[in-house]
Symmetry: C2
Subunit: 595 residues, 2 copies
């Protein structure tokens, strides 16, 4: 039977609660959203004692359902001022599920200057004083923990940025096969919320745990098989081999960064601080370029090259899209993964076309505990504001390194998010919604994603309703015209389905296959329903989560005026197609009309 | 007949408009608020072409009514995101009134990197390219203009901070007797809005103008006499002499900084970043200390000392409360004025108890074009965030000087306002409402002013509804208990009357006398009504202005959740009286219920 752990950082106490039967279906995002909306004062200061950090493995984490080990973290966001759910792969969701934890609610904040870690096992919770974990880079920190505990624990936490309460801070998780901080519940500044509780890490050991059992085993197993099959045969997520016997699936070969050239081709790759839709050096930082680099180092160093086309980001993921970038000279691991959105944020968006620089910036973000999307956009503000030049990767690296120095104002600003940095530096082209920076898809030529950016409860976020799947990649062989302006229905459908998937523990990338393949969709639903022993309508379930989130935001003072893109998207045409974002406010308000 | 000047910075054109008869009663704040609310898109970016700067002399500016030469500036605020009116003394209101200008509406923004000035005379407007006016300190700039034009023109504009679009920037005006930038329409970042229009100065010459004539001369004259008499006999504003023949009025002897010791005594002087209500060195930076310094230098240097107990901040002001602080060693002018709120922000609030340091910080703010209240609170964030130590005036001066360097991130941050600086530096005790920093009265022991801070359309602002007059100084000999929590009616009454006064051109300090003395009140009203030739109810007129402002804010997305003080005022008791701000949300919402 699943339990909830409640940690009170005011007095360093904890208690166990059983999951109320009416909440048995809540997991992942549905769980974090429910607890944040029910228990957190929407008007509280996000970085003081009244905020809470809520953590929950997706419903199917730890089971044999494929690619279902995502972890959700929720809180009031210090970046947006609204509710936030961020999720990631890594080990922790699986570990928590196997020790029977449906969720963790962390409340209060200790007085004093000590730093703490929470050590979790089957029926055990210790709150340890770990001052030696604070103030150091995350590669060192995870290496230290990885050595200390031989159970390959799940590790999540916050880095230097979060410990200093800076709003660009994400919550890191460790990669599953090494001690790298490569898995990020990155967005919304949740690392700073954890930092405000003075928690550096949460370490989970499932060696005495067991696999969660579905209520309806047959249904679950039937769904699992269907979904595995659908994922494996899909060209984006699949494991098909090509003529040379190499893996053919787009994600497996090139990772998410296969999108760099595709978006560039579409004229929707935000370049030089959202001033163009095409980057001359896109190919150099693309998934294909990483693939070539891996090929070169493999040839040179053989098995000693630590570059890889792909590996799983969490146990049981069969899509395995996470790449690993080696150093050209040594073949040693430089950074893993280098996702599309990170390579875009730290590359095209800055006019930086050297793969090494982009990988190094990403490694620094991982080490400092920063969301790469927010950090890349923030560095762009330093460029737009004339502090360092566009295109200068070396200057960007130097700037980011200042963040290690606790007295450097530059260093703090570069960790503080795009809005704050842009405003400080006199920039008026600041790409944020609800205070959160836009990701790697310009909304001017691709309107549906703009509708998602504007209307999601989360602040600008592609993962909240990834209409790119329909507008660029196509569903069932058909592409929805990205210029079309009637996108309220499309965005709502994606947002609702996403809220369901974010609760299930499934990786959002199953969407490619469930949208194209009815048996994939049925597989997803059967595993979910089979596990819980009850039928849920996907859209209805998702909309309920969104409704909860909108309620929180409304009580925090959000109105429809917050569901808008910045002015410049309406007034500055984006080359090369020279289009603006022309979706009407009425269309935007249609997305959640009455909700 | 009064006119309106409309300047279009897109193409550097201008045109004259007559004042529509239905708007004949609009002047000062009523004028700026009306035009901002009617013409500015509440959702526009405050520092891009769609915002407008609206300037208007108060209704009675240029007339013989006493102390009636205040100038209002309005726009959408880049600091609060809402509507803003800031007003100041100086020469410009009188100059504009005498050349027959009821208001100026500046719209658009030029492309290119040039800087402009607007030169105004009777029926003339030139838009000059003045690149040599930009990027320099305001003492130098005004000195330059003062030399060039021998008509003693009114000069307003923005300094380096505004030119760089930084949100702590105010709109300066020149003092009336020298070339100092001592008059500030300081709050809300309006200097940055002017900077975004690429306007450095607006220079007005009334040598061919004439005094505006009241419609009902007798009524006006009767009111004028009554108000002059009431002001002159009031102990705060009066010109009574004491036994030694020295001026006795509190303001004339000590300036507004007479309040430093009074608020300290009341335990309501925010100290060390709003962590205490009492400052051990308050006396050293008080109005009395400035008075002593002036005495000492007069003794030493005679007429060569440029320190003065008081002078008028605008032509025809008989309250004459503006002081002038000399250098101890030379008797030369250091800064003028040193208002209470500035001495508090740059003194007690920082734990800085050296009068020289406080005066120097104020001089730097004046030179850079910064609002002192916002700047002082911002420096406090650097102290609270551990970048420089509390109490270190030398470090604060060094920090502020970095603002001259266009590449200094520290320098930009210190000009960017309290909220941005606090968030960047990981501070969670940030004293702002609607993004604007709190002034010199802690709302925990003095609840009415807290109600004003929370509910005014302006962001935290003591001048929006100065309940201190009732809660600390007393009206008609009676003090309203500052701890009382039912302050909605008190705050609303003050806010409405203030909106009327801010429209009249009268200095807010007439409030001391009009509240205490019915003939003073009648005098105010008779001059207003006599000038316009129509009877207006003071409260009704004021509430209409406030209603307009609330409409703008509502359309910009503001809700009652914006009418709140920061969390820490509710949770951290303020020494020495150890009280929190306990006014209920319901009481706050009562202030403008239904509006």
């Amino acid at each position: 039977m699943s339990k909830i752990l409640r940690v009170n950082m005011n007095d360093l106490s904890h208690k166990w609660e059983s999951v109320p039967s009416e909440h048995a279906h809540l997991a992942g995002r549905a769980f974090t959203t429910h607890y944040v909306n029910s228990e957190v004062d929407p008007m509280c200061h996000p970085l003081r004692a009244h905020n809470k950090v809520v953590i929950s493995p997706g419903l199917l984490a730890g089971t044999l359902a494929p690619s279902s080990g995502r972890l959700s973290v929720g809180a009031k966001s210090p970046l947006t001022g609204g509710i936030k759910e961020a999720n990631a792969g890594g080990l922790t969701a699986t570990r928590l599920a196997k020790i029977g934890l449906r969720g963790i609610v962390i409340e209060g904040a200790p007085s004093g200057d000590d730093w703490y870690s929470i050590l979790l096992g089957k029926d055990s919770c210790e709150i340890l004083k770990t001052n030696d974990y604070a103030g150091i880079g995350l590669y060192d920190l995870i290496g230290k923990i990885w050595k200390k505990y031989d159970s390959k624990p799940g590790i999540i936490g916050c880095g230097i940025a979060g410990q200093r309460l800076l709003r660009g801070a994400g919550i890191f998780g460790n990669n599953i096969e090494n001690s790298d901080p490569g898995r990020y519940a990155g967005r919304g500044g949740l690392g700073a919320v954890l930092g405000s509780k003075r928690i550096v890490t949460i370490i989970s050991d499932d060696s005495e745990g067991s696999r969660p059992e579905p209520k309806q085993k047959e249904k679950f197993e039937q769904g699992r098989k269907a979904l595995v099959e659908a994922l494996n045969k899909h060209p984006v997520t699949g494991k098909l081999n090509n003529d040379e016997g190499k893996p053919f699936g787009g994600l497996k070969n090139y990772g998410t960064n296969i999108l760099q050239n595709i978006l560039n081709e579409a004229g929707g790759l935000p370049t030089l601080g959202f001033s163009s839709g095409r980057f001359k050096d896109a190919a150099k930082i693309s998934g294909e370029a990483v693939h070539d680099l891996v090929d070169r180092t493999k040839k040179k160093f053989g098995d000693k090259s630590e570059g890889r086309y792909a590996h799983s980001c969490h146990p049981g993921c069969i899509m395995a899209c996470s790449n690993a970038v080696p150093y050209e000279e040594t073949g040693k691991l430089h950074v893993s993964p280098l996702e599309y959105e990170s390579a875009w944020a730290l590359g095209a968006n800055l006019g930086v076309g050297k793969l090494y620089d982009v990988a190094e910036l990403n490694r620094l973000c991982n080490d400092l505990g920063l969301d790469t999307i927010e950090a890349g956009n923030t560095i762009a503000m330093f460029m737009e504001g004339g502090i360092i030049p566009y295109g200068d990767g070396t200057a960007a690296i130097k700037l980011l390194k200042k963040a290690y120095d606790s007295k450097s104002v530059d260093g703090k600003l570069v960790c503080s998010g795009t809005k704050i940095a842009g405003e400080t530096l006199g920039v008026t082209r600041i790409p944020v919604v609800k205070g959160q920076a836009l990701p790697a898809y310009d909304p001017r030529p691709i309107r549906g994603i703009g509708v998602t950016y504007a209307t999601t409860t989360m602040g600008a976020d592609h993962t909240a309703g990834y209409t790119i799947a329909a507008e660029i990649l196509g569903i069932k062989g058909e592409v929805t015209d990205p210029r079309k302006m009637e996108k309220a229905d499309l965005s709502r459908a994606f947002q609702a389905t996403t809220a369901y998937i974010d609760s299930s523990g499934y990786c959002l990338f199953i969407a490619f296959c469930i949208l194209d393949d009815d048996s994939g969709f049925a597989g997803m639903k059967d595993t979910f329903d089979g596990f819980i022993g009850h039928e849920y309508d996907v859209t209805e379930y998702g909309l309920k989560v969104l409704k909860n989130e909108r309620e929180f935001n409304r009580n925090a003072g959000f109105t429809k005026e917050d569901d808008r893109l910045p002015e410049f998207f309406h007034t500055e045409p984006l080359p090369p197609h020279n289009v603006t974002f022309d979706v009407s406010d009425e269309e935007l308000d249609k997305v959640f009309e009455g909700m």
